[in-house]
């Protein structure tokens, strides 16, 4: 009955006129948009923080390493021999050895306690051999077996597996991720209800109009359309606001984080929302706006019938 071109033009017209209506009464609409923006910014921001933590720890991912602290009596030559023997093993990917002098130099350079070292009569540092297992043997059981065998070497004073804390960190991060999902779900629900309630009020304000349109043959779809587009605009502007809030917060945090990273001798910098995440945020926000208005419209539109 209606040609596609006119149908499309109608949609565009409703889309723009609902935007116009929102712009004409900015105060009440800004409140709704602000609530949406803040509610969405919270889980998004936490998600970003978690992602950054993941990025930091990614370099350690799967990198169990065994540090062998050698007895002080072991000479550099002996240490090198041991390192070479270990390099031959099939289950070891690589071996780094740090002799006592190197350990001392590194400490002097990085710690700032160089002068304190002058007071010592001899080098307090043991030689260290760091063993990296191959990827195949990089699981807790094999690595623990390796640890046991290395510990028994006569040259070794202490063998330490640097993995436990990583496992704990991952567990904490898993917990955090789950927590963010729960928070995101609850806040999304609240966004849904806020939009729903705003649209419900809009429907009540235009009760007469809806009644008249029904009287002269307006379909449900026709009546629904402006409210759904209003929901769409709420979703879009709420999403944009939350994007701005998150980006601004990251920007505010990036200074201190860079400073912190420098102190840890890293050139790490905080990453913000990438393109895909930004798109996802906007998409989700629009979906919530639409769903909220759909909820309100389907609940309240049938109740308005002309008499």
């Amino acid at each position: 009955m209606i040609s596609p071109a006119i149908y499309l033009a109608r949609h565009m017209q409703v889309m723009l006129s609902t935007l116009g209506q929102m712009i004409r009464s900015p105060m009440s609409n800004l409140m709704t948009i602000a609530v949406m923006g803040i509610a969405l910014a919270l889980p998004t921001g936490l998600h970003i923080i978690l992602k950054n933590v993941q990025q930091v720890t990614a370099q350690w991912d799967g990198a169990a390493q065994i540090s062998l602290f050698l007895k002080p009596s072991v000479t550099d030559k002996q240490a090198n021999q041991l390192a070479n023997i270990l390099r031959q093993r099939q289950d070891i990917k690589s071996v780094t050895s740090i002799n006592r002098n190197e350990a001392l130099e590194e400490f002097r350079k990085n710690s700032g306690f160089g002068e304190a070292l002058e007071a010592l009569e001899e080098n307090p540092f043991p030689a260290v051999i760091v063993v990296y297992p191959t990827e195949q043997s990089d699981n807790l059981l094999t690595v623990q077996g390796m640890l046991a065998s290395l510990k028994d070497k006569p040259e070794v004073e202490l063998a330490q597996l640097d993995m436990q804390w990583l496992k704990r960190l991952y567990a904490i991060m898993d917990f955090g991720r789950r927590g963010i999902w729960v928070l995101a779900a609850m806040l999304s629900l609240s966004v849904l209800l806020v939009v729903g309630n705003t649209i419900r009020l809009a429907i009540q304000n235009r009760r007469d109009e809806i009644e008249i349109i029904k009287l002269i043959g307006g379909t449900d779809a026709f009546i629904r359309r402006p409210f759904l587009y209003t929901g769409f605009w709420y979703g879009l502007s709420g999403g944009i606001l939350s994007w701005l809030l998150v980006t601004l917060s990251i920007w505010l945090l990036s200074g201190p984080v860079n400073q912190l990273a420098t102190l840890y001798d890293s050139n790490y910098s905080l990453s913000s929302l990438d393109f895909l995440s930004s798109l996802t945020l906007l998409g989700l926000s629009i979906c919530l706006g639409l769903a909220g208005s759909w909820l309100a419209v389907s609940r309240h539109l049938h109740a308005i019938e002309p008499e």
């Binding site: 006119i6 009644e211 008249i212 029904k214 009287l215 002269i216 043959g217 307006g218 449900d220």
Partner: protein, 224 residues
């Protein structure tokens, strides 16, 4: 165009608003529906606009039994029925033009076509110069004519009017009635509920009389 066959409408707890009403209104025919208040005039009009459903009997509009049609069909039935209300039912935050254009916007006509038809319709009721005015700035008679322009802008085959001259003086009432006659002459079926017996007498159209829900004049004999 409109046919009622043994139509009854019962409101639970209030008894029969209409009982066993049968009548026919042909294409291009104009008729008055009269009776004291509470006789069932509004109920009868509401049945034609599918604002309510009959308890018994058949209501045919355009040969379609609308008594039990699907809810989704209702808007399309209403587009064939132009309704004029005693209280005009205009949107006061929109111009005269926008009010009259509403049925065309709903039907999805193009912008240009809407403009053309709205102006033709406003011209017909003599309000072309008021297209940019807000309804609140118009007199009662002018508002009524905006309502008429809106009802006929879609060129519906059926026109219903519920007490269209209720608040108007005799001269204005006569003008409105003449307007209806003009629509009838171009083939529209017109049904006007009114208790203005003087005016009805002057017009000389068919008269359907309701008394306590029964059609006492102008209807068809009850069918078995």
């Amino acid at each position: 165009m409109i046919e009622f066959h043994n139509v009854s409408k019962r409101y639970p707890g209030f008894g029969d608003a209409l009982s066993q009403v049968s009548f026919k209104l042909a294409s291009g025919e104009m008729a008055f529906l009269t009776g004291h208040s509470g006789a069932g005039k509004s109920t009868l009009l509401k049945l034609i606009a599918v604002l309510i459903r009959p308890t018994n009997g058949q209501v045919l509009v355009n040969n379609e039994n609308i008594g039990h049609i699907n809810r989704r069909r209702i808007p399309y039935v209403r587009r064939n029925v132009g309704i004029i209300f005693q209280d005009h039912k205009l949107l006061f935050d929109r111009t005269v033009f926008d009010n009259v254009a509403l049925p065309l916007v709903i039907s999805g006509l193009s912008h240009r076509e809407i403009g053309r038809r709205v102006r033709a319709s406003l011209d017909k009721v003599g309000l072309l110069s008021k297209e940019k005015a807000l309804p609140i700035t118009l007199s009662g008679g002018q508002q009524q004519r905006v309502g008429i322009a809106r009802a006929v802008v879609n060129k519906p085959p059926i026109l219903l009017a519920d007490e269209p001259t209720g608040n108007l003086d005799p001269e204005l009432s006569r003008e409105i009635m003449d307007l209806f006659s003009q629509f009838q002459q171009v083939g529209t079926s017109v049904l006007i509920a009114s208790h203005d017996l003087d005016l009805i007498g002057q017009m000389g159209n068919k008269v359907l009389t309701l008394n306590e829900g029964k059609m006492t004049a102008g209807g068809m004999h009850n069918e078995r």
